[in-house]
Symmetry: C2
Subunit: 352 residues, 2 copies
Amino acid sequence: MGKDARTGGRSRRARVTLREVAQEAGTSPSTASRALAGHGYVAEGLKARIEAAAARLGYVPDVSARSLKGRSSGLVGLVVSDLRNQFYAALAAGVEQTLAAAGHQMVLVDDHGSDTQALDGARAFLAMRAAGVLLAPVGRTATELLVEHGTPVVEVDRRSGVRSCDAVTIDSERGAREAVSHLLELGHRRIAMVLDETVWGTGRDRLKGYRAAHRAAGVPLARRLVLDLGLRPADPQGDVAAFLDANPDVTAVFAANNLVAEAVWQELQRRGSAVPKDCSVVSFDDLTWMRIVEPGLTAVRQPVYEMGRTAAELLLERIAGERGRARTHTLEPEFVLRGSTSAPGTPAEQTP
Amino acid sequence: MGKDARTGGRSRRARVTLREVAQEAGTSPSTASRALAGHGYVAEGLKARIEAAAARLGYVPDVSARSLKGRSSGLVGLVVSDLRNQFYAALAAGVEQTLAAAGHQMVLVDDHGSDTQALDGARAFLAMRAAGVLLAPVGRTATELLVEHGTPVVEVDRRSGVRSCDAVTIDSERGAREAVSHLLELGHRRIAMVLDETVWGTGRDRLKGYRAAHRAAGVPLARRLVLDLGLRPADPQGDVAAFLDANPDVTAVFAANNLVAEAVWQELQRRGSAVPKDCSVVSFDDLTWMRIVEPGLTAVRQPVYEMGRTAAELLLERIAGERGRARTHTLEPEFVLRGSTSAPGTPAEQTP
DNA sequence: CTGTTAGCGCATTCAA
DNA sequence: TTGAATGCGCTAACAG
């Protein structure tokens, strides 16, 4: 093909193996292996020759062969539910950063909120002998499968209920309690909560926080004020619209996550409700747009990137051989006061 | 440890191998291999027995061993420059979706805009015998290394200049031309352009479009109206502020990407400039927040997710053996008119 | 249709 | 300090 000239005449097809490097350096494969790996004794001069040969030939060790010998590939799996959601993207970024620094690669699987797809991912991780797996569970099956096979697992953001693995979560209940307490202190008495999964995951804990805040303030709870959009709602904004029509006495909305917050915000905007005068809004999760809009959204900021980092660190310890029993790290959310909340019927005092 | 009871009594440590499955089914490894892989002839009864045995034992094939025999692992690499940027997250999501549907796994590397880190990633992909690699190049080295080693490569969003690989990009020049023409038609004559890399990548093409629009309208170009923030600016908003102070006659700003757009928008907001009355704004790239803010940002929408899908499809064809010469797909951006643009000194007419 | 043989690239014994 | 031998788990020839 001629165009191989630039590569120094070597064929583009043939992988350079350790044997060839050894030949080029006039030694044996095993010596070359030791020289390149840095283990065991190799004479300085020989070592230099071998390294030179490897560089000249463009040698790249084959991890397949390596992990076939040893225990695992250096790969670490990550399963998230929606990469297009900034929350998961930030999580993945934190994980990747930590993993890369430790010389591992991240294999990313998007399960789109489906347990089945998460399970497929888990199987793939098993097949590639992943050193460990991080996942935001959508069920127990994936975690169970991995744990059964002895793969270190760290759950992130949510818990599957499997006891025998580490986890890093954010204190959803506390964050929700603070957010709702804030609204109660401002004088709100009919605070709606909108979420997309009541029975499981973070939604449940945030609902607990919502209730706890009401109890602490001695404000009665009304079932009708909780809107559960269900998993992956088709038209969240439409559902919010219907809800607000049915409950016109609501003076504030607590949105349980960024997806819900967007639907609420857009709907309030669409119907021309003034925030916070007509309706206060607090979001759990703080995305870029929430500090850009006018007024800024009062929100519960989650240390997402840090959560990814922490989870990856925990996993790396397990991979390194840490044997202790399952640990759970709980990170603290941070309440960020902006302009979308005020006493009922009052315009915002300030917009930072 | 006792807790293995649930797994059916098998040890958690030992991987189940094909040999064990074969033994369990009372046959040979190669027959078991054929039965499980689906290739070659195997009697129906035996096949069922083998499958049952595999299921019973929880057998998971070892891809390391498989790729050691054959050509490559099923892994596909993706290199992006900043996963926390919604643009890249969407790109990755599109890629993942397509790859997963084809039974491949995606290994994601974030190079943080550094050529060195991209090169590290490329080496890792080589080491794992990746079936192919997708990358948004930050230089030529990574692409060159991969191509030299015969790994199929598809470049996304940007071009490195390496001729011998496929690429999928968006027509930056055209998108920029349309955006700037729109401003010119509204009557703007001093339109600033803000970007973060003039000499390379998409910034260069968008600058071309900016110039082309001016030439087409017969409006002279002023060098001082182009603000180049440089790669990874420390304080983009501060730079924009200084620029606007130095060029108070500017009536419109064309932001070359979402990062720049955010800096521009925040700075205009900070100094209390009314958009579009005091200053019109157009963004290249259309993120969530741009349609949420008031007024909505007029923007050039890029089909990012689709770009990821297309690139992955191209790569899959190469992996499947497609031999033709390098192809380039150019996707068309879409101009989205919202409320952030109007004739100089005019408030927005409407806010959709 | 099935089993035996061989070898992918490497790291790790063990002898020299 | 070095090299020859071995086997990780799997699949592709081949022979039966």
